[in-house]
């Protein structure tokens, strides 16, 4: 408890590579949830022990594949109802995961626990520069309320410049 400021948590955690379960890296973090205004994202400071794997090769393969598509990529329901993701959609799925992490961080409080449930729809947006742009409609699952929350997010990505969420907005649930 930090008077007049908020609640600070000190965490020691282990990060596990989703694509390689044996590859782990230790991490320490400090998270500060602000008192009062729930519209401010929690402050996060972290240090990673060691290095994360280099993914240049896979990144470039994906980048070139999308760049060389004749028509803009469009897809829906990733994963499908049975939990399957086709190999070509796997990077699109992973990208959504990372981007949704940002959205979740920006909207988390001490009383929420969000997970990405599904990509409802994704559409590639043509750009004249070197970036890839995707317009996602995702479904977030919030554990405490059990709600499924549709969320729109615009995601920019480049192999050397990383991920950026340039726009995101919570969507109304259908009746």
């Amino acid at each position: 408890d930090i008077d007049d400021v908020g609640h600070k948590y000190h965490l020691e955690l282990v990060l596990e590579d989703v694509l390689d379960k044996d590859s782990t890296v230790n991490c320490t973090a400090e998270v500060l949830y602000h008192l009062g205004n729930k519209n401010i994202a929690p402050d996060v400071q972290f240090t990673i022990e060691g290095e994360l794997k280099n993914t240049d090769e896979a990144d470039n393969i994906f980048y070139n594949r999308i760049k060389s598509l004749e028509k803009e990529l469009v897809a829906e329901n990733i994963p499908d109802s049975h939990g399957n993701v086709s190999p070509e959609m796997e990077p699109i799925h992973l990208l959504a995961w990372v981007a949704s992490g940002y959205v979740i961080w920006q909207n988390s409080t001490e009383n929420t626990k969000f997970q990405l449930a599904q990509i409802k729809h994704v559409k590639q947006v043509k750009r004249s520069d070197e970036y890839l742009e995707f317009d996602y409609m995702i479904l977030l699952h919030e554990m405490v309320s059990q709600e499924i929350i549709p969320w729109q997010m615009t995601v920019l990505w480049h192999p050397q410049h990383g991920v950026q969420v340039t726009q995101d907005s919570r969507q109304p649930k259908h009746a």
């Binding site: 994963p79 049975h82 939990g83 309320s145």
Partner: protein
């Protein structure tokens, strides 16, 4: 996946091909082993789809020419085994427990299971859902002259948690297939009767197959059909409506107008109440999160037998972890997950059933409710 046909011309090419086989997960169709690759001899190799480009690049780089023998292996497989949705699939001998099944198939499966195991299995009527579908549970009981204690297990109280009904079906199959050969199971059945309800929220489950994969509640209409669904796990008579609920129909945790307002809740509650003096253990299976939850959700005050409840749950979690290393958290719901009232687990305990647990199966959020079918087997095996 593609199958490539290569005829290596030189020893260097053979070596390179052997190197590829040992470093990448390639499937040699001909010859059987990398050491049998010879220059001048046919080589047939299946390359998994994500590696096709990489392998072809590597062959090009080493000037190894190849022909694509089979451009799409899956297509060939599908052609040779037409997918039939006829009665063939529902026969338990051919029933695929590592796939998710729609309700129609589960109904047929229950009938078949009862027919092919009639000495042990009986099907019991519980009631009807709000959309007028019939609710059945299976009773597995070895004939005996003594009255046996009962273990009750229900699955699928929340529509989107597909791994849950999949587990109930797996469980029944395992018990019936191994009751003679497995001494543990056979001793189990000598002393206990098992009641299994494969899908409690039938209407919701069907809705999640046909309309909305992430639906949770049942399908009871509210406010003249402008809003649907009560959370059945907030509808039981245990501190109903007090905490962790919503009185708003559009919420996923809508508890409705009063305890047991829903026909599905009533059907289960009535059945259990009638047998409660013989019920030793109540299990309700959910996903996701990897928890074994004890009462209560509605208060942090512990139940009278909390030590025993925790002890048994911890042994279970340890056994579960022993199989594939999957870790489950154990404890009272209100302490380790969130507060909720009207849950079936709390209710079972308050009416006198000593052991009452909620299992939240795999995973921890990576796939969440949409767990891929290749995880059905490991999840069920470890939970077993």
């Amino acid at each position: 996946d593609q199958v490539l046909h290569i005829v290596p011309e030189t020893f260097q090419q053979v070596q390179h091909l052997q190197h590829l086989c040992s470093t990448l997960p390639l499937d040699l169709w001909k010859p059987l082993l990398p050491e049998d690759i010879w220059a001048g001899e046919d080589l047939h190799i299946r390359v998994p789809a994500p590696l096709v480009e990489e392998v072809k690049d590597s062959l090009d780089q080493h000037m190894i020419s190849y022909k694509v023998l089979i451009p799409d292996v899956q297509e060939l497989v599908d052609q040779s085994m037409p997918k039939e949705r006829s009665s063939q699939r529902q026969v338990p001998e051919g029933y695929v427990y590592t796939q998710y099944h729609p309700m129609e198939e589960i109904y047929q499966w229950m009938t078949q299971i009862q027919k092919s195991n009639s000495e042990l299995v009986t099907q019991h009527y519980l009631g009807k859902t709000i959309e007028n579908r019939t609710m059945y549970c299976l009773r597995i009981s070895q004939p005996s002259d003594k009255t046996k204690k009962i273990i009750w297990m229900d699955c699928g109280i929340h529509a989107r948690e597909w791994i849950s009904p999949a587990f109930c079906q797996w469980f029944v199959k395992e018990i019936l297939q191994n009751h003679k050969s497995d001494p543990k199971i056979s001793r189990f059945l000598q002393n206990l009767d098992l009641y299994v309800l494969p899908v409690l929220n039938i209407d919701g489950y069907i809705y999640s197959w046909e309309k909305d994969r992430l639906w949770r509640k049942n399908r009871s209409p509210h406010m003249n059909g402008t809003c649907y669904g009560t959370d059945l796990n907030r509808n039981f008579d245990s501190s109903w409506g007090s905490i962790g609920v919503s009185y708003n129909c559009s919420s996923e945790i809508f508890c409705r107008s009063g305890p047991e307002s829903e026909p599905e809740t009533r059907a289960v509650a009535q059945f259990i109440k009638r047998k409660k003096s013989d019920i030793l253990c109540y299990l309700t299976i959910h996903s996701y999160g990897q928890y074994i939850l004890t009462p209560y959700g509605s208060t942090t005050k512990p139940p009278s037998n909390i030590e025993e409840l925790m002890h048994v749950a911890e042994i279970a979690a340890a056994a579960l972890m022993g199989k594939y290393g999957t870790s489950y958290e154990v404890g009272p719901t209100a302490l380790i997950l969130y507060s909720n009232s009207g849950s079936s687990r709390d209710w079972a305990h308050t009416i006198g059933i000593p052991f009452s647990y909620t299992f939240e199966l795999r995973d921890k959020g990576t796939h969440g409710f949409v767990l891929p079918p290749d995880q059905i087997q490991p999840t069920c095996e470890e939970t077993m």
